[in-house]
């Protein structure tokens, strides 16, 4: 035994060793205490974040009903196929396996990757509406497809398909930029939101609140447990909304248009005189169900920028020169100002043209109408009469009065993407556009017959006629709820209004009483032709019926129809269809529509050298 190992020295060192050990173990124990007890909550949360992935549960959108309780937009349950992945590479690998099993478009992989990048911790959507066969094939090969999540989710279904496309709009996944702009409150990556039409306008009402559930994943992001059966947050279904739409009329218009005017672009709007929209149709239409499964970018381009632009809503977003239908605006202003009554004649009888300054402004009827009173001028749509009526009103008055009648405002219809009709609000517009000396008072000639700087949407012109058909108040058209907007009024007396209705009835020259046991279906309306510098003129027809007690106003425009008479039969049939429900006997009554062929007057150019000789001669 060496000197170092005397019992005393050994005991001393053993004591030191024990104390050192105790000290080290105390430090280690304290470190664990700090982590496990003091920071426990923090680490527990990290542990949960590690393994739990939040999954959004779609809420069923509120059903959209028509006025008779028929569903325009409802919910069916569909299979959604989604993928969880730890990385883009593994995602691509699984998507490729899926496309090998289920034939899909070339774009699928890049679409899925895009969705994955937008929301890394959410499962990426692969198919939003998979067929039963697809689901069966995928389930069979589940072992090959880690991270596969298949669930039934409510999805939008539009029974009427393309008949209601522009009316309801459609539903798609919210885009990254919309999320950034917070366009849709409460929307999360992957949420379905309404685009266009009622789905967009009432998105916050019908969307509801998405639920949340948690699913457990392993270190590689593979799905281990699905907790969506007991969601942490139950989805709240959207509210249902009732509309003023008559789905029967809406589908009737669509089938009529598709069957008899295929390939013709245009729009038709039907409303009650107090502004309840009964139908709103734009051709060509699109099937909103198509968006549920997701449209390819090529298809989307075809829908938005293709020649026919099916996504373009011609009823509310398309504006056209109004032409003859605008003569009623001129007439209403003149009556309100007390400048004329229905028997008033203009100083110059129609001889097929009107000399103003050093130019001649033509009437559409080359042979002339002769001398007409106001009723006759409306009935025959005499341009010469309205030139003189316009001059009598004066440009400043015409601009301000027509603007007051809503010719330069949106109607306020509760539908996305309404375009404001354009009409110069005052002469300042001309000063700005052409310079103070760049235009002349002759502008009023074109304006008073609905030409010149004037572009109106179908919905705006139709609501003006609704005012003529009703009690003289200009209604704000609505589909769901009456908007609280200040009402505009024509400012006409009952007699004046009746006179205008009478004149419009004369336009149509409805059928004789003989055929239907003493009852006619009297239709009142106005045809029109919208100048189209790019091809054939567009045809307008706006009508209401029955003429003595109007129940429905229908307006329509067909592009390249050349003339309003080509449009009239369809408008009358739509009217008849609607009246069926409220007065079946009347709907069966014959109506013979005889409309004069008032083709478009060529928009007379008014160069600035036009000399207005009779400056102040009446």
């Amino acid at each position: 035994m060496s000197f170092a190992f005397t019992p005393f020295r050994v005991r001393e060192r053993a004591a030191i060793a024990t104390w050192v050990l105790a000290g080290v173990f105390a430090v280690v124990g304290a470190t664990f205490f700090r982590a496990q007890i003091l920071s426990n909550e923090d680490y527990r949360r990290k542990s949960d974040n590690n393994r739990l992935r939040k999954l959004n549960l779609a809420s069923p959108r509120g059903i959209i009903f028509d006025r008779n309780g028929k569903a325009i937009a409802e919910n069916a349950s569909g299979f959604t196929v989604k993928l969880f992945a730890a990385s883009e590479d593994s995602l691509r690998a699984v998507v490729r396996r899926i496309t090998a099993l289920v034939p899909s478009g070339d774009e699928l992989e890049s679409q899925v990757v895009k969705r994955f990048e937008a929301a890394q911790y959410q499962p990426a959507l692969v198919y939003s509406n998979a067929s039963f066969e697809t689901v069966a094939v995928l389930e069979e090969h589940r072992y090959l497809l880690p991270g596969l999540v298949i669930r039934t989710e409510p999805r939008r279904y539009y029974r009427a398909g393309k008949a209601v496309g522009h009316l309801v709009g459609y539903v798609t996944e919210v885009s990254a930029s919309e999320l950034e702009r917070k366009r849709f409150t409460g929307a999360k990556p992957g949420s379905l939101v309404g685009k266009d039409g009622l789905e967009a306008k009432y998105d916050s009402v019908v969307r509801g609140l998405e639920g949340e559930s948690f699913i457990e994943v392993d270190a590689r992001g593979r799905l281990v447990r699905d907790g969506s059966q007991q969601p942490a947050l139950k989805p709240v279904p959207g509210e249902r909304i009732k509309t003023t739409i008559d789905l029967d009329l809406q589908t009737y218009i669509d089938s009529m248009w598709t069957a008899e005017r295929p390939g013709v672009s245009g729009a038709m709007v039907a409303m009650t005189p107090d502004g309840q929209v009964l139908a709103l149709y734009s051709a060509p239409s699109f099937d909103p169900n198509e968006f549920i499964t997701g449209v390819s970018s090529a298809r989307y381009a075809e829908l938005t920028t293709g020649a026919a632009k099916p996504l373009f809503n011609r009823a509310v977003s398309g504006s056209f020169p109004p032409g003859s239908p605008f003569k009623l605006v001129t007439a209403a202003i003149a009556l309100k100002r007390g400048l004329v009554d229905f028997s008033s004649r203009m100083p110059q009888a129609c001889t097929g043209g009107f000399r103003f300054g050093n130019r001649v402004f033509h009437c559409w009827k080359k042979t002339g109408h002769g001398s007409l009173d106001l009723t006759g001028a409306i009935a025959h749509s005499c341009d010469v009469y309205f030139y003189q009526l316009g001059l009598r009103i004066g440009l400043t008055n015409l601009l301000s009065d027509a603007t007051a009648l809503g010719m330069a405002s949106p109607t306020g219809l509760d539908l996305a993407s309404e375009r404001t009709s354009s009409f110069p609000p005052s002469t300042a517009y001309y000063d700005r556009t052409y310079g103070k000396r760049g235009w002349t008072q002759a502008t009023i000639l074109n304006l008073s017959i609905g030409q010149g700087e004037n572009a109106q949407t179908l919905i705006n012109i139709t609501r003006f006629y609704a005012a003529l058909a009703g009690d003289g108040t200009i209604p704000t058209p609505y589909i769901v709820s009456k908007p609280n907007l200040p009402t505009r009024s024509l400012g006409l007396t009952k007699e004046q209004l009746a006179g205008l209705q009478n004149a419009l009835w004369k336009v149509v020259e409805s059928g004789t009483a003989a055929a239907s046991g003493g009852r006619d279906l009297r239709v009142a309306g106005k045809t029109g032709t919208a100048q189209n510098p790019h091809g054939d003129d567009h045809g307008w027809f706006i009508a209401f019926a029955p003429a003595d007690n109007p129940k429905v106003v229908v307006g329509s425009i067909m592009e390249f129809a050349k003339h309003g008479t080509a449009v009239a039969p369809y408008v009358v049939r739509a009217i008849r269809r609607y009246l069926q429900t409220i007065d079946p006997a009347l709907a069966k009554a014959p109506v013979r529509v005889l409309i004069e062929e008032d083709s478009a007057t060529t928009d007379t150019e008014i160069p600035s050298d036009t000399i207005i000789k009779p400056r102040r001669r009446r």
């Binding site: 050990l21 124990g29 664990f32 007890i37 393994r51």
Partner: protein
């Protein structure tokens, strides 16, 4: 041989083995396919083998052991050399060469045997000294005995085992009675190496060292040597750092700041701390740790088994494990103290150094007290070589305890 086995040691060792086996079983129970699912069965097999080896060691004559020490040591070095030439990697150190394989079958990590060989040879050398080493020059031979295997394992590279060898050397030098001041001087180059990262700290350390050298009145040659080596370390540190393998650098960096590279090199330590931290007082329950079940934990049956303990058994479970280890060491210190002669006493204390280095390094890394090095936790980690080495080591300890009891050693 009535009560030949130290009963307290037996209870503690059995408790540790059962606790460890339960955790190896749990580590294999995951929600995702795991290769470790049946590891616990193989672990039982290894424990049986280790028990048999321990029984053989228990029967071994310590005189024979003392005589054979150089040969065992030499055999261990040969195996280490062989490993360097034909070794393969595994686990957290998949790129290092620490496994000896024959025909593609990995048969073990020879470093565990080399550790025992080094303990025996150091014990033989130190026990033969008449006086405890008093100067640095007296420490040259033990330094070389330890330094050769250290260099060999560093070449694998296996930083963890190198630390264990150093731990063995220091604990045995302490036990033979080397003054703490001399141990500090011996350790000073390493301290210089670590502090070289920051010039101000390093400067302060050199200043302190100079003062200490003057106070302790060492031999001039000794003092100058220490001073030169320490200064050189400051310069060499950068070069040495550059010579470290990338993964070693990353491990050291992520030891200091795990969040620096959370997805890769910091991943293990972050996941380990999350698992432990989420355990709370009572843990998630045996078999029910979510991080473990979803295999977020790296190397759960082997290097990070203690993270499973923390997650599933909670702070109390950790305290029980640490308490058992502490009891083990206290009992072993007492056995070393009561040993009948210096060789066996030094062997026991060397084994304390070995096990303590493993426990501190392994447990410390799970909670980021120590950098991540892939060395196993005694009685817990799954794996043959180390279980076997522990079995032999404990057989020797039991033998020493038994001898002192037989010789009638009584001590309060």
């Amino acid at each position: 041989m009535k009560s030949a086995l130290d009963r307290r040691l037996l209870v503690v060792v059995l408790a540790l083995c059962l606790y460890g086996l339960a955790m190896v079983y749990s580590a294999g129970q995951t929600d995702v396919p795991s290769h470790a699912e049946r590891a616990w069965i193989r672990q039982i097999g290894w424990m049986v083998v280790a028990t048999l080896a321990g029984a053989a060691a228990f029967r071994m004559s310590f005189r024979l052991l003392e005589w054979a020490a150089p040969y065992l040591y030499g055999f261990g070095l040969c195996l280490l050399l062989l490993t360097l030439m034909i070794g393969t990697g595994a686990g957290t150190a998949a790129s290092s060469k620490s496994w000896l394989a024959i025909g593609g079958v990995r048969i073990g990590q020879p470093v565990e045997m080399a550790k025992l060989g080094t303990i025996l040879l150091l014990a033989r050398y130190l026990s033969a000294l008449r006086q405890p080493p008093a100067t640095l020059w007296d420490l040259v031979i033990p330094g070389v005995i330890t330094g050769v295997p250290v260099l060999l394992v560093m070449a694998q590279p296996d930083l963890g085992s190198a630390i264990v060898f150093v731990g063995i050397l220091f604990s045995m030098l302490f036990w033979v009675g080397v003054k703490p001041s001399l141990l500090l001087l011996l350790a000073s180059p390493v301290i210089s190496l670590l502090l070289a990262a920051d010039t101000r700290w390093w400067g302060a350390w050199i200043l302190l060292l100079t003062v200490l050298l003057l106070i302790w009145r060492t031999y001039v040659s000794e003092g100058v040597f220490i001073w030169i080596v320490n200064s050189a370390m400051g310069v060499l540190a950068i070069m040495l750092w550059n010579r470290l393998k990338l993964y070693q650098q990353q491990r050291l960096i992520s030891f200091l700041r795990p969040e620096a590279d959370a997805a890769r090199s910091g991943y293990q330590i972050i996941q380990s701390k999350v698992a432990i931290g989420s355990g709370g007082w009572f843990g998630n329950g045996w078999l029910h740790g979510p991080q473990k079940r979803l295999s977020f934990l790296p190397e759960q049956p082997t290097d990070f088994i203690f993270s499973v303990v923390g997650e599933e058994m909670g702070f109390l479970g950790v305290l029980v494990a640490l308490g058992l280890f502490f009891s083990l060491f206290v009992i072993m210190v007492r056995i070393a103290r009561r040993a009948t002669e210096s060789f066996s006493s030094l062997v026991v204390f060397g084994i304390i150094g070995l096990l303590f280095a493993h426990v501190f390094e392994n447990v410390g890394m799970t909670i980021s007290l120590m950098p991540i090095t892939g060395i196993p936790l005694p009685f817990f980690s799954y794996g043959g070589s180390f279980v076997l080495a522990c079995g032999i080591a404990m057989g020797l300890v039991f033998r020493v305890a038994s001898d002192s009891r037989m010789s009638g050693y009584l001590d309060a």
